[in-house]
Amino acid sequence: MTDLWVALLALFAVWTGWRVFRVDSMVRASFSLMLSFIAVGAIGVLLSAPYIGVATVFMMAVEMMVMAIFMVMFMMNPAGLNPMVMVHQHRLSIGAGVVAALSLGAAVLFSRPPDDAVRAEADVVAELGHELLGPSMLIFETAGVTLLATMVGAVILSSRQGRFGAADEGSRPPGLSDGGAPAGRQPEGGGGHHHHHHHGGHG
């Protein structure tokens, strides 16, 4: 029974994953992606990894909400809700995806992973806790530092205003002479080809 659910959920995850690139707006795409994640999270719950599964579901739900809001609020107004097709090297990409999936599938079929299912009585959440604060503490801590660094970095890059006014003002290389233009290649005319040219409801 569980196996059937798992199989169906896996199929659902794949199908929704496929939908991500088939739907005609980014918001729908991100909801499809969320559904795919939720399916995987559900598989986790079914396969005795409740913590991981639930964490996945919650985390991804939040992330995808953020992503959707992000697109609506911040990015290409009103493109976030508009139908769109924005692809390049499409055939090659399909080919690459198919080849990757098929060869991984073949590898899966030809591989002999150990056959040792999780014991039903195991207290997996506690084991995870012990692992995190025990043998793998260094990894966990490194992950923590990484998250910290990511937050700092993201703030640096994205914040508009800093302590001293506009955060990015003056953040450019020194010129060849004091106050001159930076050396080397110059930016190409201020975002000349704006995306509006590329999609306009033909989708």
Partner: protein
């Protein structure tokens, strides 16, 4: 001590050149050096010397009688020539001229005293280089420079034979002394013998090297006199005579020497007979006379050849002085313009002595030594003797013709007074007269015993034939000189026709073919690459047209010059090809790889499009390949 024979004149020559000074002082110093050399040559007879370079190579010197005779001859002839030069040549270049002549003499003496092949080679090449400098003495003019280069390259081509001989001797015996030469056998012996013959033939102006002697005539007259009498040209004969004991064992050596010698003697005689240029006539005669001597060596009588060499040296030096004197009077070497008998009667008489000696008229020295040579060749067989007799007849003809044309009684009787020239001429003519004493058994027997040989015995028939030929030759010479010096009728003995049909026309056809090929190649050549080779070839063909009548001698000369021209041209073509295509081909190694690399660089640069999805593609393809390798490549 023995080495001083070589380095003393050489050093003296350099000193004289460096010091310079007025005509008289230079001449005196040079004469003094020649005299000292002469004295040394007399004094050091029989001595030996060695100068070690390393364990393997030591320069050796020795002076057996045969060598000593030549060693004495060289400075003895040099003296009068210095005298001649001092009065005949411009004062400006005189120190250089006399100095180089002394260096040249030193080189010749080194050849004479050499007792091993390396020493010989050293002298051999130094003589060649000095002759280059001497022929090119008048460097401001175009012709002497070209001629000097031509002569040097030509003789050096023959020198390669000497190089081969040295190499073969070392390879065969591990040493390079003359004694080692005798110890050779098999291919080493053959290579050594024929290498030496080649070298000797080139120095002695034998076919096919004869043309360089003509080109050498662009040098000053004293140089010609020296070159053609006791040095350079004589070196070829000398070395064959000196090494005859060691070489005669090589199979085929004797016959080849005789073919070359007698062939040149006849062809050279014919050339001389048709010449209108005084010095070139004499040059042709030198080839012919050297041919006779080489044939004599081939017949097994080296001492006889050397005796003729000595006689010929005084004779020929005298004749060149006479020719120079005549040119001094008329301003050119053209025999047409001469007939100076009334203007310079004394000189004419002295030249007459020399000319008769060259003609081998009995009672004069040349007559004796030539008859001895005929006797020597008789031992080789009747055919050789016949050729020898014919050559002798030709010699009598051109000698007579020369004298009559140059010093026969002419119309103009305004006296001209060449002083120093007369002195030199009379010294040489007197020497010729003195050598005539060799007719006397009281003289020639002790000479023969000093050399340690017996003079050859000949048949009466041979003597008669030879003398008859001389007589006919003299008469023919008289007639030829009288009937003028322009082109003769083409049916002279039928030979010109034969040459024309058999050699000249086919050769022209061949030359034209080559010329077309050459043109095709020349098109490939960047302009200006040609230079000396083409200039030389052009000059050769012009000289051909100017000086040669299209008669018998033409064949010899054309073949020789044609061969040279061909060699020069083919080298030229190869050089241009090398400089052009070949260099580009070898330059392909760096440039082509460089260019390919550069193109690959430009192409690869194109891969870095600056577009992220292309980066992704590269990454994905790379991973696919890596996965494939990991799964299937192990």
């Amino acid at each position: 001590m023995i080495w001083s024979l070589a380095y003393l004149p050489a050093l003296a020559g350099q000193a004289i050149w460096a010091l310079g000074g007025p005509r008289g002082r230079v001449a005196t110093l040079a004469l003094g050096a020649a005299a000292v050399t002469l004295a040394l040559a007399v004094a050091v007879g029989g001595r030996t010397g060695a100068f070690a370079w390393s364990d393997a190579i030591a320069l050796q010197a020795a002076l057996p009688p045969l060598a000593q005779a030549v060693a004495i001859l060289v400075p003895a002839v040099l003296g009068p020539i210095i005298l001649f030069a001092a009065s005949h040549e411009d004062a400006a270049g005189l120190p250089r001229l006399l100095g180089l002549m002394l260096v040249f003499t030193g080189g010749m003496e080194l050849i004479v005293i050499a007792a091993d092949l390396v020493t010989l080679l050293i002298g051999w090449e130094i003589v060649g280089a000095c002759s280059w400098a001497l022929i090119g003495h008048k460097w401001r003019q175009q012709a002497p420079g070209l001629s000097a280069n031509f002569a040097f390259v030509m003789t050096r081509a023959g020198d390669l034979g000497l190089f081969l001989a040295v190499m073969a001797t070392f390879a065969g015996a591990g040493r390079v002394g003359y004694d080692a030469l005798g110890a050779l056998d098999g291919w080493a012996q053959a290579l050594a013998a024929f290498g030496l013959l080649l070298a000797a033939a080139s120095k002695a102006g034998q076919v096919p090297f004869a043309p360089w002697l003509f080109r050498a005539m662009d040098g000053p007259t004293p140089v010609s006199a020296l070159l053609h009498s006791a040095t350079m040209v004589a070196a070829g004969v000398y070395i064959l005579a000196r090494l005859h004991p060691q070489l005669s064992g090589a199979p085929g050596f004797a016959a080849t020497a005789m073919v070359v010698g007698l062939g040149t003697a006849i062809l050279g005689g014919a050339v001389a007979l048709r010449q209108g240029h005084a010095k070139k006539l004499l040059a042709g005669s030198t080839s012919a006379q050297m041919g006779l001597m080489i044939a004599t060596v081939g017949a097994g009588y080296p001492v006889v050849a050397v005796l003729h060499l000595i006689v010929h040296a005084t004779t020929k030096a005298a004749l060149f002085c006479a020719a120079g004197l005549a040119q001094g009077v008329t301003g050119s070497f053209d025999l047409k313009d001469m007939r100076l008998g009334r203007r310079v009667p004394v000189a004419a008489a002295l030249a007459g002595v020399a000319a008769l000696s060259l003609a081998a008229v009995p009672s004069l020295a040349g007559g004796w030594s030539k008859e001895e040579m005929v006797k020597a060749v008789e031992h080789a067989g009747p055919f050789w003797t016949a050729a020898m007799v014919i050559a002798g007849g030709l010699g009598a003809a051109y000698a007579t013709r020369f004298w009559v044309a140059a010093f026969g009684p002419g119309d103009d009787d305004a006296p001209a007074v060449p002083r120093g020239e007369i002195g030199a001429l009379s010294a040489l003519a007197l020497a010729t007269l003195a050598l005539s004493a060799l007719w006397l058994p009281a003289v020639h027997d002790p000479v023969a015993s000093w050399f340690g040989i017996a003079l050859p015995e000949g048949s009466i028939l041979g003597q008669v034939a030879s003398l008859t030929a001389v007589a006919i030759g003299v008469l023919a010479g008289l007639r030829l000189a009288r009937t003028g010096l322009e082109a003769q009728s083409r049916d002279w003995l039928g030979l010109p026709e034969l040459y024309q049909r058999g050699v000249i026309e086919p050769f022209h056809a061949l030359a034209n073919t080559f010329a077309r090929v050459d043109d095709a190649i020349v098109d490939l050549i960047p302009r200006g690459v040609a230079g000396i080779g083409f200039a030389a070839a052009g000059r050769l063909s012009r000289a051909d047209d100017d000086a040669i009548d299209g008669l018998a001698p033409v064949a010899a000369r054309r073949v020789g010059r044609g061969a040279v021209a061909l060699a020069v041209r083919s080298t030229e073509a190869l050089a241009s090809l090398g400089a052009g295509i070949g260099e580009r081909l070898s330059d392909l190694i760096p440039t082509a790889s460089g260019r390919l690399t550069g193109m690959a660089g430009a192409d690869l640069r194109g891969l870095q499009t600056g577009l992220a999805h292309h980066y992704y593609t590269i990454l994905t393809v790379g991973i696919a390949l890596a996965v494939g390798l990991m799964n299937f490549g192990g």
